[in-house]
């Protein structure tokens, strides 16, 4: 992979569900190490885009390339094996299990074994360390609590830890901040910044624009399945198309 090849390249991506076009002719490149924010009104195709990239849904047309490799139509487990992981908008942990046991499943995946040099090691220990990284206080033994007993802030962080456990190169966060208080968001942002410093590439789908713009390098705006703007946050928000998408057009 040369310095020019972007980490992720999406070309002409289209997905329809029955009569509804969820994503239409989407093109964009993402270079390594950047944080791309993806915003847009509800129904603009953001989550479908994530599903397409991660293999949960097959496109009707178009290509997805990761590190120059064509991963279009690959099943989710293969995409994860390449180094892309995601979080889900609707967080659903294994409620009956302690928080740290929730990480056993991702730590069981072949990618983790490969990166650890062929052995899994002690999954419990790795899980506990991961949870501490995302802010589960060690002294309070929060990691041992049943996932069903944890509040939303912790569940979101657990979700983040699950995607980090896979040691991905590209992490896609689907509305991680939704449902969190300002303080909770403020406590998660440093974790994301640390990921960036570690060289990870991040895509963040968000509605919380203020918090997103503080950490995003670039922003992409979707509406009705199309990309209507891309660039720096300040530039994008000045675009008339974006204003119309969010606020509507002037009444005649």
């Amino acid at each position: 992979m040369t310095a020019q090849t972007p980490l992720l390249r999406v070309s002409n991506l289209t997905k329809t569900f029955g009569g509804v076009t969820a994503v239409s002719n989407m093109d964009f490149d993402l270079d390594e190490g950047l944080l791309l924010g993806v915003i847009g009104p509800n129904g603009s195709g953001k989550t479908t885009l994530v599903n397409l990239i991660t293999g949960f849904v097959k496109p009707v047309a178009g290509r997805i390339e990761f590190r120059g490799k064509d991963i279009t139509g690959w099943p989710p487990y293969k995409v994860v094996g390449e180094g892309i992981s995601r979080t889900f908008q609707m967080v659903r942990p294994f409620y009956q299990l302690p928080a740290y046991k929730n990480l056993i499943v991702p730590l069981y995946s072949p990618r983790v074994k490969k990166l650890a040099g062929g052995k899994y090691g002690n999954r419990d220990a790795v899980a506990l360390d991961l949870l501490e990284e995302v802010g589960f206080e060690r002294d309070a033994h929060v990691s041992y609590k049943k996932a069903g007993a944890l509040p939303q802030g912790y569940l979101k962080r657990l979700e983040l830890a699950k995607s980090m456990a896979l040691r991905p190169d590209l992490i896609i966060l689907d509305e991680l901040f939704s449902g969190l208080s300002l303080a909770e968001v403020a406590s998660i942002v440093p974790i994301i910044e640390k990921l960036k410093h570690q060289g990870k590439t991040i895509i963040m789908i968000e509605h919380r624009l203020k918090e997103l713009f503080r950490i995003a390098d670039r922003v992409m705006v979707l509406n009705y399945g199309r990309k209507i703007a891309e660039g720096l946050a300040i530039d994008v928000m000045e675009s008339p198309d974006v204003k119309e998408a969010y606020l509507g057009s002037e009444a005649e």
Partner: protein, 333 residues
């Protein structure tokens, strides 16, 4: 004055979860006794019974194996309404090898177990991608159809089946073999499901989207679980063939599909010990009710309904709860 029921772990359970278990005989016994009961009960006491009751134990053990196989499949979210498929295929495989090629039981049974397991897994592979309901539908229909197929095409002995097959040297050998298999399956399956692998399997049943996004190919794991369950089921069939010295259409009978489900539901799904207990309750009971003929099936059916609706956790979970926790009424002020 309002009261509520409070449940807390017994002292001995709390202590035996930690290093205390190794320092005190009481805690060690507490941990070992539940596992020892089936081992001692089966291996030591059953040879002392009369031949008739030994036969009942053997028959029960066969159903218990089918029930545990069912439980294994259920752990991955695969509801099997056709354990008879595994039984029948294992039965015919062992029977055919014995009848047509003259292989002795010591060869036919292992070959039928693994070979049958492979055949059944490959057969059901396409259904694994679908919702759990489809698995139930297909497994229900296929053995019944295979039975009618044998009847229609008259292959493999047709309606009469393959008769005059090699039996076991004596009843005690058969008893020993089946009980060994039973205990191996019980402890083996429990061990598997207690490990991290088991967590993955249960995760697939609980939230397969999450497991998929964790980089695991859920269909590969479902296939593995299917193979494990199928092997145990085929073993039961192969064993039954040499017990009865017969392999035929009855191997695909509905009885072999329903009894294991009833046993698992009564005993408690997901625990493997539950289906075992369920089988050891239902089979001897039905043996005693044999005089009532068709009422046996009515009885199974009703048992299924009552337990699914009324005590979904099953008997084993109930006993386990009592063993591990104590309940008492406390005042709520």
């Amino acid at each position: 004055m309002n009261r509520r029921k409070e449940r807390i772990d017994r002292g001995v359970k709390a202590r035996s979860a930690d290093i205390f278990a190794l320092t005190s005989y009481r805690e060690m016994l507490y941990l070992l006794i539940p596992g020892a009961i089936p081992v001692v009960g089966l291996l030591c006491f059953s040879p002392l019974l009369s031949p008739y009751w030994r036969e009942v134990i053997i028959s029960t053990a066969i159903y218990a194996l089918l029930a545990m196989s069912w439980d294994m499949l259920m752990s991955a979210g695969l509801l099997s309404l056709g354990q008879a498929l595994f039984f029948g295929i294992g039965s015919y495989l062992a029977g055919s090898l014995n009848y047509y090629a003259g292989f002795p039981p010591v060869l036919t049974i292992p070959i039928a177990t693994i070979g049958g397991g492979l055949i059944c897994t490959v057969l059901l592979l396409p259904v694994l991608r679908l919702r759990g309901i489809y698995f139930a539908m297909v497994t229900l229909v296929v053995p019944l159809m295979l039975s009618r197929l044998v009847e229609a095409t008259r292959i493999l002995g047709g309606t009469e089946g393959l008769t005059g097959l090699t039996p076991f040297p004596n009843q005690l050998t058969a008893l020993f073999v089946i009980q060994l298999a039973l205990l191996a399956t019980l402890f083996g399956f429990r061990r598997i499901m207690g490990s991290d692998y088991g967590l993955v399997i249960k995760g697939i049943s609980d939230n397969d989207r999450s497991v998929m996004s964790a980089g695991l190919n859920i269909y590969w794991y479902k296939a593995q679980v299917l193979f494990l369950g199928a092997c145990v089921g085929c073993f039961a069939g192969a064993f039954g063939t040499h017990m009865d010295m017969f392999a035929g259409m009855p191997g695909f009978a509905l009885d072999y599909s329903i009894m294991p489900v009833a046993a698992a539901v009564v005993g408690g799904t997901g625990t493997f010990a539950g289906p075992l207990i369920g089988a050891f309750i239902l089979v001897p009971l039905s043996e005693m009710l044999r005089a009532l003929g068709a009422l046996r099936m009515v009885f199974y059916g009703l048992f299924l309904v009552v337990f699914v609706v009324g005590m979904p956790e099953g008997i084993f979970a109930y006993i386990q709860r009592k063993y591990q926790q104590m309940e008492r009424w406390v005042d709520v002020s």
